[in-house]
């Protein structure tokens, strides 16, 4: 740090004043890169030819000055100071053999690139803002005419729509009342009616299958429907407290019997 301090002290009075002005105005900087860019201007060279080492020293001296003046710098200024101190040491010392990571020259070149890019963007921003601008230098039509929106309805139909419509009309006479084919369906209501009539005569456990309507057990489709309806009806009767149901194990035959005393609910 001694070197940096000496460099700082060796600079002219006007430069020192300028540096102090920088410190006082530190809030006005938009981060360390902005500060570096301002410091780099004191080198009075093209940014491409900037001495990053000298810049690092200027920056570190600036941070030291700020500390001496008890000015608190935001953390990122200190992070940059640490990075620049590291860069400076790498630039001054010969690289250790087998050292990993980017070379100090690459890092310095990147910093120079960042400064040049930021500077270029500022220049571009200034040029952009200096352009002729709408509403200031040139103007849009003041008397805008409204564009009326006209909504037009167009009706459409597909061939399928039409064919189906026709088919619907032509086959209307063939339609039966709203019901699918009930010939092979034994409803729960049917089963309930049937069981209510029979349950009173069955005093003991009787297999549910014996309640199936006559003839329905022959055809599988009809047997399924009748079995399902009879089972559902038996559940309903059990719920109402008229019967009890028993099944000794899974898939074993289900048996029912009439309940003598209605279940309390």
């Amino acid at each position: 740090m001694a070197e940096a301090t000496s460099l700082f002290e060796s600079t002219s009075v006007s430069e020192r004043l300028a540096a102090e002005a920088l410190i006082v105005d530190v809030d006005g900087f938009e981060g360390p890169l902005d500060l570096l860019l301002t410091l780099s201007r004191t080198q009075k060279v093209d940014l491409r030819r900037i001495s990053v080492l000298a810049l690092a020293e200027q920056y570190l001296a600036f941070v030291d000055r700020a500390k001496a003046l008890r000015i608190e710098l935001a953390a990122d200024y200190l992070v940059m100071a640490a990075w620049l101190a590291f860069l400076k040491s790498r630039l001054l010392l010969p690289p250790e053999p087998g050292e990993e990571g980017p070379s100090a020259e690459d890092m310095a070149a990147h910093l120079a690139f960042q400064l040049e890019r930021l500077s270029a963007m500022r220049e571009a921003a200034a040029q952009l803002m200096a352009r002729d601008r709408l509403g200031r230098d040139f103007f849009a039509r003041g008397l805008e005419e409204s564009v009326a929106r006209v909504r037009k309805v167009r009706y459409t139909a597909s061939l399928l729509d039409m064919i189906q419509a026709y088919a619907r009309i032509r086959t209307r006479d063939e339609f039966r009342p709203y019901a699918f084919d009930r010939r092979d369906v034994f409803t729960m209501e049917d089963a309930l009616d049937r069981m209510r009539g029979m349950i009173g005569f069955a005093g003991d456990w009787t297999e549910l299958t014996s309640y199936l309507p006559e003839g329905w057990e022959l055809e599988p489709k009809r047997r399924r429907s009748a079995t399902a309806a009879t089972f559902a009806a038996s559940l309903e009767l059990a719920k109402q407290g008229h019967i009890e149901i028993r099944q000794s194990e899974t898939f074993a035959p289900i048996a029912i019997r009439a309940r003598t005393t209605p279940r309390e609910t």
């Binding site: 003041g142 167009r154 009309i169």
Partner: protein
């Protein structure tokens, strides 16, 4: 045209811009202003020695026959769209809507039975056909009047148009598939129509229920 002639002596003191320049100025002022601008206002805004009235006269001639005209509104001036181009100031949005069930059924019957009278359509549909339905189809140019039927009352018949065939991609109405083919192709919707025999008032309500199929 000019309501503000300047004293020639004064004019010589200030170099007025060339008339072509003044015309540009009047053009820009009128273009950018949200309201019509009087000659006096233009004059006030233009460099000393300008003659807004004269510039305006030139400008007006320049815009003769163009897409916009320079028009006088009270005492003031403004650019306005040429009246014959008013139609450009509307943006047309087309909304596609599905044809109603009544219309599509009527259309189908005409297509399959053409030439067909209104009474025949009603007989096939089992309900009266409203005048609006026929009118809509006529307006869409999907049906048109055919020959009158040589029966008592000489009723008009309806037939489908070229436009109809075009829209549905048919070469002729004879290309329409028959009922048997429809059934074979599984296109027949075997859903019954509740209350199909009831009067039309009822029908409409129900067909609306059905609309989304």
């Amino acid at each position: 045209m000019s309501d503000s002639r300047y004293d020639p002596n004064e004019k010589s003191l200030f170099e007025a811009p060339p008339l072509a320049e003044q015309e540009r100025m009047v053009e820009a002022i009128l273009f950018a202003s949200a309201e019509p601008v009087t000659v006096r206002e233009m004059q006030d805004r233009m460099p000393h020695g300008s003659d807004a009235g004269e510039a305006l006269a030139y400008l007006q001639r320049r815009y003769e026959g163009r897409g916009v005209h320079l028009v006088k509104v009270g005492n003031a001036w403004a650019f306005r769209t040429a009246p014959d181009l008013g139609f450009l100031m509307q943006k047309e949005t087309v909304e596609m809507r599905k044809l109603s069930r009544a219309a599509i059924e009527t259309l189908a019957i005409i297509a399959y039975h053409q030439p067909v009278t209104r009474a025949e359509i009603e007989e096939i549909r089992g309900v009266a056909v409203s005048r609006g339905t026929i009118d809509q189809l006529l307006e869409m140019e999907w049906i048109r009047l055919g020959r009158r039927r040589m029966t008592p009352g000489r009723p008009v018949t309806f037939i489908v148009t070229e436009g109809f065939l075009d829209h549905f991609g048919l070469e002729s109405a004879r290309d329409l598939p028959g009922i048997k083919e429809l059934r074979a192709a599984g296109l027949l919707d075997n859903r019954p129509m509740p209350g199909a025999d009831e009067e039309e008032g009822d029908m409409v309500g129900q067909s609306e229920l059905f609309e989304e199929e």
